[in-house]
């Protein structure tokens, strides 16, 4: 986030007071929600072109996982990457400006929605090819193991990618070499427009590593507390023993991309999740129930988040277009 939260700044997420952790999570999840809503609006206004895959509904996963990360750990995911970037602490302005294709974008407009990186924050993309990032994330783990640096690769994929072949090549390699990788399967129930039941012979996706001796666990991906607790255990396992799989049961509220009207599921199904399982509402209720925050303090967070997102949108709308001279840079290292 634009404002690094206290727990994260100290690299002490595990030991920070519980209410700090949960308030951080609330702020971070809300930031992703509001950012994505605004990105959807900008797309509708024609300010964002191409593909735009929104993370709305899945916020608890990126945020809960990030709370178990420490500096030096890496994150890699596929094309639904905006939420992961914000959770990793990347400035919303440069993410939004990449979406609008401006020179101030994190890839100066040469990456776009699906291909954004921040080496500084340990975020290694942002990959457009379904499943490819799983092998790359395994390679990040290889590097960590080789350098014996204690870092862990957080390698995300969806319930669609889990049916791609390279995923299993990499599972095998990771367990064979005991690489420090946490594989996070974000099971949002739909691989583009095809449900898990219609695309997978085994729908319990956490079992997909069992034949490689990779343990797996199913987690309520709509509950940031559950995600965080599972993440802390999984990261410990990865650092000390080797790869592990977390299957996050979640749901995406929007279509696969902005151009998907999502006719493969009913309005009622979406509304049911929105009203009963929403990860932000869930955490808000918990904060209020446990007396960790009142209406006024939550309102304050809402206001701050809205301001940051509005600033990011304004920045992304008004930042200059890319310089055409940039077309030919960074193909190879400039001599």
């Amino acid at each position: 986030m634009a404002r690094q939260t206290q727990a994260r700044k100290n690299g002490a997420a595990k030991t920070a007071p519980r209410n700090d952790i949960l308030l951080d999570a609330y702020r971070d999840m809300l930031m992703i929600r509001r950012f994505e809503e605004r990105a959807g609006q900008l797309y509708g206004m024609g300010l964002i072109g191409g593909f735009c895959h929104l993370y709305i509904g899945q916020e608890a996963i990126a945020v809960g996982m990030q709370q178990a990360a420490r500096p030096g750990d890496q994150i890699i995911t596929a094309y639904r990457d905006h939420g992961h970037m914000l959770a990793a602490g990347i400035d919303p302005k440069v993410v939004m400006a990449e979406l609008t294709g401006r020179s101030a974008g994190i890839s100066r407009g040469k990456g776009g929605s699906m291909h954004m990186f921040s080496v500084e924050k340990g975020f290694f993309g942002g990959h457009g090819i379904v499943g490819a990032q799983v092998s790359l994330g395994t390679g990040l783990g290889f590097s960590n193991k080789y350098n014996d640096n204690g870092n862990v690769s957080f390698t995300y994929c969806g319930d669609g990618a889990i049916n791609q072949g390279q995923v299993y090549e990499s599972f095998n390699m990771a367990e064979l070499w005991k690489l420090p990788v946490v594989y996070v399967i974000e099971n949002n129930q739909y691989a583009m427009g095809t449900s898990v039941e219609r695309s997978s012979s085994e729908v319990e996706l956490y079992k997909r590593g069992l034949s490689f001796n990779i343990p797996g666990e199913q987690v309520d991906g709509m509950d940031v507390v559950a995600v965080r607790e599972a993440a802390i255990k999984a990261v410990e396992h990865a650092r000390t023993k080797g790869p592990i799989i977390l299957e996050m049961k979640t749901y995406r509220y929007r279509g696969h991309s902005m151009s998907d009207p999502a006719k493969y599921r009913s309005r009622d199904e979406v509304d049911e999740v929105r009203t009963k399982r929403d990860p932000i509402d869930h955490l808000k209720a918990l904060l209020e129930k446990e007396g960790m925050a009142d209406e006024a303090s939550l309102k304050e967070i809402d206001t701050e988040v809205k301001r940051i997102v509005a600033e990011a949108a304004e920045f992304a709308r008004t930042a200059p277009e890319p310089d055409p001279a940039e077309l030919y840079t960074d193909v190879y290292l400039e001599a």
Partner: protein, 326 residues
């Protein structure tokens, strides 16, 4: 100075770089304990240990994925894809991932890795283990592509490839592994993007790569001895970047160009070179550039048939003689 085989030069080149830089790791199928399916990596496991020289599962996508992930985080992997043909199994990494990382990230992510593979025919392996796949690699901005024809070039270009800040596709020719050549002692570091004129001539330029370099040289000897034709032979060595200066300089001198390509005709590397010559040196030409290639068919296995497909010394001599004397 020692006489080395092309296959021993591979191990020497890799060892030279691994000894110099601990960030260089080497992974592939059967490369360590077995010493490589072509015995080109014998001794590396013993010299550098199993952490740096790693046998992998037969999983080409995982190999290149691991290599790229490692390269993005500061290592300099050399990944072997045993047969060039198998690049198709992991083509996503060659086409979509590795070459585009630097560009898509505004230069934040670097992929300093080498993918080496044995290509080429003449060994009766048939259509799926014999291809020359330079053009599978050349078409992606972000990749560099080299193919050495001699042991000394293997060592020097390997060093240059490993030290290069960008990904390099390193094609060895399987038909050359047993060939020998003089290799100086001590460190050898060549330069990517440089062609070599291996034989001076005045009547025509023969541009060749890999095993075809040897056939071009043999053809040039016969053209001189039997027909009095003086052929200059250029070993392209590096397709991306390409040494247009050397190529165009030779064309300006001789006025006639022949490419000798092992690949099937359509979109072979020679087509790209001929197109450059057409753009840049049209008025230096005394006749049409002629491409001597394999026909556009899969490579057959039987010796009689395979020998009909790949350009032979006879075919090179005959094509050039006819073009220059008619």
């Amino acid at each position: 100075m020692a006489e080395l085989t092309y296959r021993d030069a591979v191990a020497r080149g890799i060892a030279q770089e691994m000894a110099r830089d601990e960030d260089v790791v080497f992974l592939g199928e059967d490369i360590a304990k077995a010493g490589g399916v072509f015995k080109a990596t014998v001794g590396l496991l013993e010299q550098f240990g199993p952490l740096r020289v790693r046998d992998t599962p037969i999983s080409e996508q995982a190999i290149l994925g691991a290599a790229m992930g490692a390269a993005m985080t500061g290592l300099k992997p050399i990944a072997e894809i045993m047969f060039a043909d198998f690049l198709a199994v992991c083509y996503d990494y060659v086409a979509n991932e590795i070459p585009k990382a630097r560009y898509m990230t505004n230069g934040q992510v670097k992929c300093p890795l080498v993918i080496r593979f044995g290509g080429g025919g003449g060994l009766r392996f048939g259509a799926q283990h014999s291809q020359c796949v330079e053009n599978w690699c050349m078409q992606f901005p972000g990749l560099k592509v080299v193919s050495p024809s001699s042991p000394v070039d293997v060592v020097g270009l390997m060093a240059a490839a490993v030290r290069d800040p960008d990904p390099v596709m390193f094609m060895e020719h399987k038909g050359l592994y047993a060939t020998k050549g003089e290799v100086p002692d001590g460190e050898i570091v060549d330069t990517l993007g440089t062609a070599k004129i291996l034989r001076q001539g005045t009547d025509c330029t023969i541009i060749a790569l890999g095993m075809m370099v040897h056939r071009a040289l043999a053809a040039a000897e016969r053209l001189a001895a039997e027909f009095g034709i003086s052929a200059e032979v250029v070993d392209v060595r590096s397709l991306v970047p390409i040494d247009t200066q050397t190529i165009l300089g030779s064309v300006a001198k001789t006025g006639r160009v022949f490419t000798v390509e092992e690949n099937p005709r359509v979109l072979g590397w020679g087509a790209e070179i001929v197109s450059i010559i057409a753009d840049e040196a049209f008025y230096d030409l005394d006749g049409p550039p002629i491409r001597i290639t394999s026909p556009h068919i899969p490579l057959p296995a039987a010796d009689l048939l395979e020998d009909m497909v790949i350009p032979s010394v006879d075919r090179v001599v005959e094509t050039i003689r006819r073009a220059l004397t008619s």
